[in-house]
Symmetry: C2
Subunit: 394 residues, 2 copies
Amino acid sequence: MNKRPALRFEVEAQDGEARAGVLTTRRGPIETPVFMPVGTAGTVKGIRFEELESSDLDARIILGNTYHLWLRPGIDVIKSAGGLHRFIGWDRTLLTDSGGFQVWSLGALRKITEEGTEFKSHLDGSPRFLSPAVSMEIQAALGSDIVMVFDECAPGKGSHEQTERSMQLSTRWAQRSKITFDRLQTDGADTGRVPEAGGLSGCQALFGIVQGAGHLDLRRQSLEQTVEIGFDGYAIGGLSVGEEKSLMFEVIDEIAPKMPKDSARYLMGVGTPEDLVESVARGVDMFDCVLPTRNGRTGQAFTSRGKLNIKNAQWAQDNRPLDESCPCSVCRRHTRAYLRHLYMSGEMLASILLTHHNLAFFLDTMRGVRQSIRSGDFPKFRREFTERLSANGE
Amino acid sequence: MNKRPALRFEVEAQDGEARAGVLTTRRGPIETPVFMPVGTAGTVKGIRFEELESSDLDARIILGNTYHLWLRPGIDVIKSAGGLHRFIGWDRTLLTDSGGFQVWSLGALRKITEEGTEFKSHLDGSPRFLSPAVSMEIQAALGSDIVMVFDECAPGKGSHEQTERSMQLSTRWAQRSKITFDRLQTDGADTGRVPEAGGLSGCQALFGIVQGAGHLDLRRQSLEQTVEIGFDGYAIGGLSVGEEKSLMFEVIDEIAPKMPKDSARYLMGVGTPEDLVESVARGVDMFDCVLPTRNGRTGQAFTSRGKLNIKNAQWAQDNRPLDESCPCSVCRRHTRAYLRHLYMSGEMLASILLTHHNLAFFLDTMRGVRQSIRSGDFPKFRREFTERLSANGE
């Protein structure tokens, strides 16, 4: 392959294992460490794109789910709009997952073979087949800026033998993903080309995924094999799927610092604000998680002093903002009493406002982390952040 | 009473019966004709206050429902926040209804006597009592800028005798409302005082309501009695409650032009964009209706070419905006195909975006009406607006 890189990553500052960098895609620069809001079905639930772009949030990259978008509205619809960016109206960077994790979550509804995964759609029960080649083709049609390889997520508590079999399958699927991906890039099947991308190729980037569950030797082997294939960036998959938190950090401790230093490191599906800060301390650059949006819809706010359940009667006449040290538009304007009233009344605005605040908190936290790494104060930031979180958490 | 008026109204231009004016409350000027979004439970459903204030919508006045706010979160909670404006975070004008209409809607759950209405809360079945005095006290505690008298809404198809009895009761309740209102204003029970209101009194304004269902003689009598009592503005109540549309316009035709020329005329609970334009043509200045918000949540968009049901399969790959001549942020950014996908996927963003567009359409329509009255082109505007609405309406 002669193509120029579709993505650049530069580490600007390092404090211990923690890194502050810039990930540049064809859509523009993204400061890291970065939290990526999850836009499952082409929308980050409960929030308008204008808000994601606002200075309050300023999300530079969001996620789309291949599985969900493939089933609904379907690739034809998205192609006819000119790709996912145009379909949803988002000009910034989009990362799409491969569908592997969603298919794996279907449990009994799926059957995994060497070729790929047969499963039944959760929407209408229709039979479907997803494989490395199909996933790459879908993601090319979506025109996302960062594509993930199609992998199998091993169960958190599988035996060494089971996990090894699964991990080796993931490696073979990663190889097959890369072959199809490279062909599609050359053929120009990507609907999301940006000819003006200048120094970048105008094509998509592909990330590999390290698997191996909680078995450190398998994790190391998976990392080696994945780097051997060679990708534009590297992810740690198969964590935060029910394993003990201590095991999760053991894996990150072991793997993150060994990942290529000149590539972005993405911890998939993690986590709480503490998880994010602790993982940055171990060398991770990128995160995605549904917590801020999902918990926002169920009445839980993340604040600098811990979690706050807006349903609690104690907030009924509390005229303070959700988080007294948060500068977001929700905290500037609305009180706990009002938000509780909205939630108890089943008003959509409760979800909208809590989602906004939660995303602001996650994104601000990452900006604070980044700043502290650049100024060499990350250990202090980490200590104070963690202490504050337990101040009056519920 | 020596108090200065809490509200000013001036007609700036007139074209036939249609009037363009300015209604000034202690919160600022409101250009009329004006559409008021309905904020039932302290929120205009599905939309943030920032959006209501944005240039897209620029709503100068919204409604709150006394009945709903009284039952939940309760007046104590709102008082502890310093009134409804502070509780919800809205600095512009608020009009509250009296609770009369909601109580009337409860049907079998209520019992009306000379004193007031006994009913059971729709939330927990607890017994409640609402009367002119209670409604005025609640509205004073809410601190709304415009208070409505407590009335009884007569059934749309009642006999002349029934309707007359109901109308006479409403008149007596209007007198009692005014007595309590005046005392509360003097006593300063209003929590929403704005000392900086300058030329205005810093107190609340009170509107009377003309009843009489579809009986024109009773409507005339009600108007006479209401004007005799004397209010800061006058409303037409009891329309759009199931009667024929032709009867509604008969009543408006008969009553609106006879209402005091130097006071604002408010048609309660009406209506579609056509209804608004046709009522302005008959001399009405103010409107409120749940249509743009409620229909937004059920997938119906109001456009300059008629209604559009976003669920229809014909929009699945339609990459045009909802309304090609609408300048709102939703129409600038999103396609019918995307909005349909969101709606079919049960995504909250569908409701958020359709509500925004619908409100923009209603508010823009009123701005267009106002402009045409000022330039003497209202008949042309009315004709063209009506013709366009049937262009490709569903």
